[in-house]
Symmetry: C2
Subunit: 347 residues, 2 copies
DNA sequence: CTGAAAGCGCTTACAG
DNA sequence: CTGAAAGCGCTTACAG
């Protein structure tokens, strides 16, 4: 490959100083029109490809990119429908602000830290459930704006979370209103230790993921209000994967045939629950009512269509990106609302 | 904020040269253990945050990131299930090679070109349908490895495409084997001009998107072989969106009630076709057989489950990333195979 | 194994 | 509006 043409080469060939040549590209208003055009023409003749990105970055200190990290599970970003919606929102805001989107990729936590240190970005966005995390610390060490989604982290420039408590309250209240009395709660993973299956009271007390804690609290609040004892509620911790929750629900319905209402902490889990319930011979919503959480599009096509608590994940991502990129004034701890979405799986 | 601590500050404080300090971080083997440890300790005391990313990039010329561009439609990346699978594959390979993933984001083509010029990456991956494209030219001007997915572009370092022709042949042959005789083809967008609706012979001759050209060719080959005249086949160009194809199919079945086989160029289109056919009172597969293309997971849950031509989009993305990052020897024009996926929508 | 020096390519005060 | 100069922070030949 030929030697790279530099700005200085262009400047010399055009008979101007390097500074003027630089301005011709970066600040066109500062250069007289004829001069600018001559510089651009000479540049084209020499095959100059425009200012070197890395050099400009070093000089200006601006990377023109937003880093996005998924510390809990790095492949998760492109698997979970909710995470994808989030990315769509982030992408939208990045496009609006003419900033690229750097997805930090790694196979394991150690590599993730290296990846974070190697990323030329102006700010970070983190989606995670827990806050005690080496990856988070690595980001904080970079000393750049950091916005957290779905969890609170001390020292973050901002936080975007859902009013998970209120959403869960709504979900449980809705099932109660539909006549359910014997409840099962299908929980998302509650903390770092993977411990899928029945969730006893001890484990329910050791929840470190904010989302799980809040949603559990919301469910319980409505159930208690309706006079239902929490000890009588079946709790199961599920992987966020339909095939897994389907199995869990089949087993559960064998052990607890009386269950007539399922509160699932995600639509992905709820969709599996529909499968498991159908395989167990239950008619939904007649025998058993199921409500999910998130309101993903796929819930429209299930059999029956899935009731849920709708959240606007796209907006969640967009807003977080906006905050990270520093266009937001004032309050930097945002709580987004949810709404009840009634479809065929409850009545 | 305090002044940034530089490597030179660390070197001075540790009583070594800057070069040695640099090696302590980047090439630990070249520095005696005690010296290295002293340097690292001094660094920690001074609050040195590790080598400045941009400076290292400028010096080494390596960005440690792969650029990913979706020139046809920039929001498409996080909307289309097939694009998301592609991204998952790219992400997986990036993780394997410890490289980050830079998604080029922009609201319009002009901004996209700026975004490309501002991206500090080592190589580009492009997913697109057409090859005549200002955005592609902008990437090529960067003079970095470029791998194209789903289209051929002159001067690309590599290409990953599907054997779309063979896949489409299989799809049509399968419907013929199932007894269909009166066909409709639901095409993806055929070229830059959005021209949704009936697709006459003239427009069928002006297809610039490779995928559409190949799939159309494959369908036609099987149909001709079965003695079906192409002029009798209804062709409709659809937006790649289920709600749109559903409408198109309702109208189509009103105008052409004889249709008993639908060949859809994507599963997203096919899923809409199922809706449209159901709304028109057709029983699938008894009255009408439908086959899609792609084999996305969502096709398992439709009513009835969708037959399709399966492609491995994850592997497509992964392979393209591998090629772009230069780990591939030999042939750099890969053609991936497809397979027939028979489910409830055909019999 | 260590040190002194050059230079990656640019932008931005500064002086005119 | 233009030019000369400094410096962003690092890594890497090179000489010892």
């Amino acid at each position: 490959m030929a030697e790279r043409v530099r700005l200085l080469d262009v400047a010399k060939a055009a008979g101007v100083s390097q500074g003027t040549a630089s301005n011709a590209f970066g600040k066109p208003d500062l250069v007289r029109k004829e001069v600018r055009e001559r510089i651009l023409e000479v540049a084209k003749e020499l095959g100059y490809r425009g200012p070197h990105v890395m050099a400009r970055m070093l000089r200006t200190g601006k990377a023109g990119a937003l880093g996005v990290v998924f510390p809990d599970n790095l492949e998760y970003a492109f698997s979970d429908p909710v995470a994808i919606e989030l990315l769509r929102g982030v992408g939208r805001e990045c496009a609006r602000q003419a900033v690229n989107m750097m997805i930090i990729s790694a196979e394991n936590p150690e590599q993730a830290i290296t990846a974070i240190n190697n990323a030329a970005v102006d700010a970070f966005l983190v989606h995670c459930y827990s806050d005690d995390n080496d990856i988070i610390s690595a980001i904080q060490r970079r000393n750049q704006p950091l916005v957290c989604i779905d969890t609170d982290i001390a020292g973050a420039a901002g936080t975007v979370v859902l009013d998970d408590f209120a959403g869960a309250e709504m979900a449980a209240q809705h099932l109660i209103d539909c006549g359910a009395r014997k409840f099962a709660i299908l929980s998302l993973q509650a903390n770092k230790a993977e411990n899928f299956g029945p969730m006893n009271a001890k484990r329910r007390g050791a929840v470190s993921h904010r989302v799980v804690r809040e949603r559990l609290g919301g469910y319980h609040a409505s159930l208690k209000k309706a006079g239902i004892a929490i000890e009588d509620v079946v709790h199961i911790e599920c992987e966020n994967m339909s095939s897994h929750s389907a199995e869990m629900v089949e087993t559960m319905l064998r052990d607890h045939p009386e269950i007539d209402g399922i509160l699932a902490m995600s639509d992905v889990i709820a969709i599996g629950a529909l499968d498991g319930a159908r395989a167990s011979g239950r008619k939904i919503p007649d025998d058993l009512k199921v409500i999910g959480f998130d309101g993903i599009a796929e819930g429209e096509r299930t059999d029956p269509p899935l009731s849920s608590i709708r959240q606007d994940s796209v907006e969640k991502g967009r807003l977080a990106a906006e905050m990270a990129l520093g266009e937001t004034q004032g309050d930097n701890n945002r709580v987004l609302e949810t709404s009840l979405l009634v479809r065929g799986s409850t009545r």
